[in-house]
């Protein structure tokens, strides 16, 4: 098992290097130099060339890549010329807000989707199953922002239960207690994730239900509650681990749009603002962070599955 985990970590590092080269190369090809953004539209070419030379933007791109990675290892993610601040500091200010929003939504969706999927599998082809499937299918086909919009219209504008905007506070503690502002963003992101998770959970639970060990558990007289808890739930949860790892890019995308819609100042909104400003270093840094999160998430999911599932561990 140790050998497998080490090999898996090795692959992840190779993929990580590949991803960083690709992202850096692509962004470099699109935005070779921020000179114009810094010096202004009317800077003449001599000025631009001098600025590029001074800041190392005339080096070959691979040299620039190596320099960027060297700085990155030391915690320096470059400088945002638009916001006049180091990118590391910018990200440091807002990452906790995004982590809170996404983390709470992810935990909620897992906690809701697993029992929902199992319930649908047990009560297959009943009204409850059809209703849940239909709802999940509709939300699954919905753009995040439209879902958020409907929630805003219903619960913020019509019923006045919640705020139509995410919390604007700077302290994480006050964001955590401010459920009035945070409910709608969290619910939007949660519903979106449940819609995709519960479909998988339902079919996995149905596969597990058809297994012989469930029959054995029932045949030996185990109460149905224990059959479900000990045998069905535990086995049906395993593919969930992989699914969570795989859905990180989708979660980040959902986070980006939710934060933009609810004007919640997190990493997603920072990225969105940077898109409009063409703030190269912010775009690069957050895309890299997203890739790292994806790779690490998949790695952790695979290792967790190896540890949890003896069939994989021994294979």
């Amino acid at each position: 098992m140790i050998g497998y985990i080490l090999r898996r970590i090795g692959t992840s590092i190779v993929v990580l290097i590949g991803v960083s080269i690709f992202i850096f190369g692509l962004l470099h090809a699109i935005y070779p130099s921020p000179a114009i953004d810094v010096l202004g539209d009317r800077a003449n070419s001599a000025l631009v060339a001098a600025w590029n030379k001074q800041n190392g933007f005339d080096d070959p791109w691979f040299t620039q890549y190596l320099r960027y990675m060297g700085n990155l290892v030391r915690g320096n993610l470059g400088y945002s010329y638009k916001l006049n601040q180091g990118v590391s500091a910018l990200l440091g200010e807002v990452w906790a807000r995004s982590a809170w929003l996404s983390g709470v939504s992810l935990v909620l969706s897992v906690v809701i989707a697993i029992p929902l999927g199992v319930y649908q599998a047990i009560r297959r082809n009943t009204f409850g199953d059809y209703a849940a499937t239909g709802l999940a299918f509709t939300v699954y086909a919905m753009p995040v922002f439209f879902l958020g919009l409907i929630l805003i219209q219903l619960f913020a504008l019509d019923l006045h239960w919640f705020s139509f905007e995410g919390s604007q506070s700077n302290s994480l503690l006050s964001i955590i207690v401010d459920w009035h502002a945070m409910t709608l963003p969290v619910v939007t992101l949660t519903l979106l994730t449940i819609a995709s998770f519960s479909r998988y959970m339902r079919s996995t639970a149905m596969d597990v239900m058809a297994q012989d060990y469930i029959k054995v558990a029932r045949a030996k007289g185990l109460p149905e509650r224990l059959v479900l808890l000990r045998h069905l739930l535990r086995n049906a949860c395993l593919p969930m681990v992989t699914l969570i790892g795989l859905s990180i890019p989708a979660l980040l995308a959902g986070n980006l749009i939710t934060e933009t819609l609810f004007n919640y100042r997190g990493l997603g909104l920072l990225f969105y603002t940077a898109l409009g400003n063409v703030d190269y270093n912010v775009l690069l840094a957050y895309t890299l962070i997203g890739a790292v999160l994806t790779i690490v998430g998949n790695l952790v999911a695979d290792i967790a599955l190896t540890v949890a599932d003896p069939r994989i561990r021994l294979a």
Binding site: G18, F146, L149, L157, P249, A253, T287
Partner: protein
Amino acid sequence: MSQLSAGSLPPLDVTRAPEGGAIGPVQSGWRLAVREFAQNRLAVTGVAILLFFVLFSFVGPIFYHGNYVTSNLLATNQPPEAGFPLGTSNQGYDELALLMKGGQAALEVGFFSAAVAIIIGALYGAISGLVGGFLDAVLMRIVDVFLSIPFLFIVLIVAVRYGASVLSLSLLIGAFSWLVPARLVRGEVLTLRVRDFVAAARVAGASRTRLIARHLLPNALGVVIVNVTFQVADAILYIAALGFLGFGLQWPNQDWGDLLSNGVTYLQDGYWWQVYPVGACIVLVVMACNLIGDALRDSLDVRLRRR
């Protein structure tokens, strides 16, 4: 017992069928799949919805001439009434005409980008699976690399610079969504290439190109077709997201996401006709594609197919 020579038997009398139940004619797998599909009511609904939107977007403008070109400041934000069946936008454009125009872009981008993704993905996967060995390992690591990139971020970054037209957006979305089809086709080819008919073709001297084109890809077509429908659905959601964030198609193209984001500004004024019809269009088209995809998967899945 089956070794009896044909000559010693009397000619078959087809009118006298053997006892023990009716024997149907031999049907091809594809015909079975179509029948299976047609029996699925949800799938037929999906096809009907999609067909409706194709007609609505491409034939509709021939019969309905709404204004979406010149702004009309005397008729902004009009609720649905005689002249404007679905009201007008904040610039006095006719919402129904905008919906039709937006539908064209959504369907075009959806199908173009799915085509791009499938062509790249199928060839890539087929080559990787057929050649195997070191090349396969390298090609699949490259897929891993691409799959680890948060797709929407990259598409947004590129779209800010190169977005704007139906073709460029389709190429962009297609260029970043061939990974799943590549993996699917590779998996399919890995199981197909050890089958007897592929070995027979190889013994008969078929080249690799011929093997891929004549034997592997047609047999992997099932998974590819299923995947196309999901690709179309995803692509439509992607351009809606791009449009909503303000990096979608540029005038004179319209996209549904952009329309929706314009409508949001007026949400609290109660201009529902700028928000809900277009939202419903996106949901319906995407849902139709997903329904068709699910049904196709069921009807093409060999394990479930009735024989």
